[in-house]
């Protein structure tokens, strides 16, 4: 990618520390983007009990599933995810109800919902029931990540969740990452 384009390239996927930043810079990237690592900070408003689940999840505790909204998504492996994997298309009534709730939440009209639905089906080759499940997914994720409902169990995550073990402030985290990256690069050039 870096060889193919002229624009700055930000590396993403699994980064969580200074060594990763140093490695990405060595590859030729201009920086890194991080999701999971920043989810697990003081400044993140994810409920504490949910953050705890992330912190306790080991490296083997995640799974990539298409059952949530039709597209592959990495999540913490929970009963809900196992359930969705097993019984994908039998949750129609609940899915329809949540599709309607999501419509209200995002202010989408019925006509627009159908229009978006047709576009999504065309782009991702989904059946209508998969599509309704896809509309369902944001409500489930919201119930976990905002509502803090421990029973829902849709917890999007990166692979590095098993390696993250603390909840620093963003300020401390950035400083730590930069310091570690500089130390790693110094070590290589000395």
């Amino acid at each position: 990618m870096i060889d193919a384009v002229d624009v700055p390239v930000i590396a993403a996927g699994g980064f969580h520390d200074g060594r990763g930043l140093a490695a990405a810079l060595t590859w030729g990237a201009d920086g890194i983007a991080m999701g999971t690592r920043f989810l697990l900070t003081e400044d993140s408003r994810v409920p504490d009990a949910i953050k705890e689940i992330y912190l306790e999840t080991p490296v083997t505790g995640t799974v990539v599933s298409r059952a949530i909204d039709g597209a592959p998504q990495r999540v913490i492996r929970t009963e809900m995810v196992d359930d969705l994997e097993r019984s994908r298309f039998t949750r129609m009534p609940l899915a329809v109800l949540n599709a309607l709730r999501f419509r209200r939440l995002t202010g989408t009209s019925f006509r627009d919902l159908i229009r978006e639905g047709r576009a999504m089906r065309k782009n991702r080759d989904l059946t209508w029931s998969q599509l309704v499940m896809a509309a369902n997914a944001p409500m489930l994720t919201r119930a976990s990540m905002v509502g803090g409902d421990l029973g829902v169990g849709i917890l999007p995550t990166g692979q590095c969740v098993g390696l993250v073990e603390d909840l620093p402030s963003c300020a401390d985290l950035v400083e730590e990452i930069v310091t570690e990256a500089i130390a790693a690069l110094d070590r290589l050039s000395s």
Partner: protein, 85 residues
């Protein structure tokens, strides 16, 4: 980032020297506008906003980002050339 990257995390990241990206794909247009105001209450530094090119009101969202002088737009799928212009 949906439901997670709200004003607190975005401004915390910005104040720490990073580029925080607001997860606006899980917000209505009004919520997105409010969140941008809230971020500006908490930080002077640049930040970005995520948009989905397939959302029905993408035109209005982009217009809003331009008029609010948001420095960075992040696209969830590849945007068309017209959107970038």
């Amino acid at each position: 980032m949906g439901w997670v990257a709200g004003p607190s995390l975005v401004s915390g990241t910005a104040n720490a020297g990073g580029l925080g990206i607001l997860a606006a794909a899980t917000m209505t247009l009004d919520e997105m506008a409010e969140a941008i105001v809230e971020i500006r209450r908490r930080t002077d530094r640049p930040f970005g906003v995520n948009v989905r090119p397939d959302s029905v009101d993408i035109g209005e969202r982009i217009e809003h980002l331009i008029s609010a002088e948001v420095k960075v737009a992040s696209f969830a799928q590849a945007p068309g050339v017209e959107m970038v212009d």
